[in-house]
Amino acid sequence: MSFLPALRALLLACALSFLALASAGAQGLDAAVERFKADSFSDTEAGIAGVAASGSPQGVAILEALLDRRLFAGAPGVFFRDKAGQGFNAATGSPATVPAEAGMVRLNNRLRNLVQAALGSMTLLSPDPAQRFRAAEAVFKSRDATALPAVEQALAKETVRNVRRVLEEARAAIILSTTTAPEADRIAAAQRIAEAGDNDAVAILRQFSAQSTGGLKAVIDQGITAIEQAQRIRAWVQTVWFGVSLGSVLLLAAIGLAITFGVMGVINMAHGEMVMIGAYVTFVVQELFRSHAPHLLDWSLPISIPLAFLTSGLVGIAIERGVIRFLYGRPLETLLATFGISLVLQQAIRTWFGPTNREVSAPSWMAGSFEFLGLQITYGRLWIVVFTLVVFAALLLILKATPLGLQMRAVTQNRRMASAMGIRTRFVDAMTFGLGSGIAGIAGVALSQIDNVSPNLGQGYIIDSFMVVVFGGVGNLWGTLVAAFTLGIANKILEPFAGAVLGKILILVLLILFIQKRPRGLFALKGRAVEQ
């Protein structure tokens, strides 16, 4: 680590010339830290620059604390806490208790950018690759010319490929934005940035396209065209991905209905409320974890899945036993009764949990995104797609490979015959309805990640769910799958041209027309059952 002081000195020199600060070293830090007390954004800005320039060993810690709202300033001095909560005096770096009268130093977005840029050039050589990656990204964004020597130094040492790539891009970005740099260097830099090919790259190129002339401009414009072309192709892939992702949400919402409506023929208007109950179970489980086992919070979501299944399933069985069993063979009356149940359930949740939205946070493994073939794929959406397919497969398995599934199919195909064969049809009815409702509950767990957890949650999905099931063909799970993805992708293809609202209207009209052509959906059941 012997090069660190040297680098710091270099950085310091650059910063000094750039920021034209009067003092340096420890006094520099003292003076800089003092500025935080003023509680004005311009003083804080000077403080940030001063801390960055001071080269003090606790500079990084101070700026990180500032970014994380752990820096406090007041008459007794300036203090910060580390991540563990231990207090320090910012000027001296020695442990101290943070006095109560010291208020938190506030930031706004502009200052936050400055802090990140400063931290970027200060942590380029951090031992932690993740931090180096962030640092390089920050430098890429700030394009701070004073950071160039540090970037060069870091590049010389860097072995991790990802970090190296970002460092190279950062260097190119700095060179491109240094108007005094030789033309050849800038051209090379522009080419390097064009290679990166993402939104940030095109943003930089666009910015300099207008300001440059001659060969450089030609290279930049060429780069922009290439990226735009690649982006156009990518946009299509992205649209399909968005469609798949929307389709999986539709499938998830509809799949329970495919059982209760599709298999049993019950028009279950309370289906949306089963989804809502699942979402509220997720909320309750999360709250329990938060108060009793905060360190396991990330696991609350997986644990909610069986609980949501059970809760919604039990509510479903209760509804079946209490109401629906009296109404078999009168599908339109079940519609009315279940609509009534949905109103009651909504209001019950509203009275119990209050009418406002409830927060369900994303576990850390569902947050964020990654790049795949130049596409930004968010983990949350990916998990939902995977989860949906798993649920679908499991359901298929239950129906096709378990005794209960066999009985369910038997009862729905010919109730009397099934009964004559010794199947307890009433029990099977209750189980089937419970299964459908339970799966709706599972859908609620997933939907809590992307939508409001409120008493109105179910209402937003009920009509779409019916459309999916009817489009796919009642009584056919594969039809539901195909229908959900078709509608999802079609919606996303139409959205850029027609807009979100008109796109949805068009889909509905197409659906109505489609039903005229194939009155029983994509995959209609054949046989005598159809006539009933």
């Binding site: 599908p331 009534g340 149940i341």
Partner: protein, 383 residues
């Protein structure tokens, strides 16, 4: 002769229903306009508006019962026809505002000025003329119903599929009317009406007149519906409801029969909507919401499906309950009450209020017959 036949066609309860409506049409305006406030017989302005609203809903319910109760078409989109009729009337009323809008534009309604419309969209042309607007009140729902029905019935979409796509229809319209680019005022809809046929819509005499018109319209709707169901054509409808394939095999053109009653019912709903708008003072896309249409179905179920009178009764009863349940401490329980009612009615009174009434009557008659029989037997047993 004809009157005698009509009276016969109305059945007992139909006559009672018509008599009540006729009485309302006379008594309500009298008690509202002539009886001084403070008297026990005075009917307040608010009550007149409320009653008018109930009767519009009753008309919608009768129209719905005509297709559901007698032809087995469960429409979850009848609210769309109601709302379209309402919009046609609303557009007429908007054009009557003239220069009295906040921006004083003689042609464009306020919301158009405010969204920078330069000229009146073609959809609005002609709506300043009352006869044209009234034509549209029946024509727009009628044409929509015709196109929708022609496509749907021809391809033999029935049962729940039909219900779901009627829902899709009203849902699509709901979304469309929300769009400000459609030129119908978006979410705010049409409101702040001034005149109808030159009379101030807020004047009490206008309100009373509208109420009378609503009563008469409901009576006519009911008589028309009754004539339809009592005719041979009506019998075919019932046959379609009970066994569609058989009726087709006998040789009836099922689609044509269905289409006719469907279009007539949509037009009736349109008229109901048109009468509704000047009385409540606003029309907005929420009338297209699928839940509204389902609620209308519930009125019919609660009153008694396939009885016409029951449908109207159900609409009035449910909406009266809504009025009561949305004030004061009861407000928190309104949805419990409504939801509970739906479940109870479908479970306990599958034939609705009218059904229960009939049952009670039949039981009384039976008891009387038994008693009479006993008395007769006792008398016979006497030496």
């Amino acid at each position: 002769m004809i009157t005698m036949r009509l009276v016969k066609l109305m059945e007992g309860r139909g006559l009672i229903f018509l008599a009540i409506l006729a009485a309302l049409a006379v008594l309500v305006p009298v008690c509202n306009l002539l009886v001084p406030p403070g008297s026990a017989f005075h009917i307040s302005n608010g009550t007149v508006v409320l009653l008018g609203k109930y009767l519009c809903y009753a008309m919608l319910a009768v129209a719905l019962d005509l297709v559901w109760g007698y032809c087995g078409i469960l429409s979850l989109g009848h609210g769309a026809f109601f709302a379209l009729g309402g919009y046609a009337m609303g557009m007429y009323l908007m054009r009557q505002i003239g220069t009295r809008g906040v921006y004083g534009n003689p042609i464009l309604p306020d919301f158009m000025v405010f969204l920078n419309y330069k000229e009146l969209p073609i959809t609005w042309w002609g709506f300043q003329h009352f006869p044209y607007a009234m034509l549209m009140v029946v024509l727009v729902p009628g044409i929509l119903a015709f196109v929708f029905g022609w496509l749907t019935f021809r391809s033999r979409v029935t049962g729940v599929y039909l219900s779901i796509i009627t829902q899709a229809m009203t849902y699509a319209l709901w979304l469309s009317f929300f769009r400000n680019d459609m030129g119908f005022g978006g979410n705010n809809g049409l409101t702040d009406f001034k005149d109808i046929l030159g009379y101030n819509v807020q004047a009490q005499s206008t309100r009373a007149s509208l109420f009378v018109v609503t009563c008469i319209a409901l009576m006519l709707t009911f008589i028309a519906a009754r004539l339809i169901v009592a005719s041979t054509y009506g019998k075919v409808l019932v046959a379609i409801r009970d066994a569609e394939s058989r009726t087709r095999f006998i040789g009836y053109r099922v689609e044509h029969h269905k289409l006719l009653v469907w279009v007539v019912s949509a037009m009736m709903a349109g008229v109901a909507g048109a009468l509704y708008v000047p009385q409540v003072g606003i029309i907005n896309p929420s009338e297209f919401h699928p839940a509204n249409s389902i609620e209308a179905v519930v009125w019919v179920a609660i009153g008694g499906r396939g009885t016409l009178v029951g449908a109207a009764l159900g609409a009035v009863v449910v909406n009266y309950l809504k009025t009561i349940f949305t004030t004061g401490w009861l407000a928190a329980y309104w949805l419990f009450a409504l939801g509970g009612l739906f479940v109870l009615v479908t479970l306990v009174m599958p034939k609705g209020i009218i059904g229960v009434w009939e049952d009670v009557k039949a039981r009384l008659r039976e008891r009387k017959a038994i008693a009479a029989g006993r008395a007769g037997a006792a008398a016979e047993g006497k030496p």
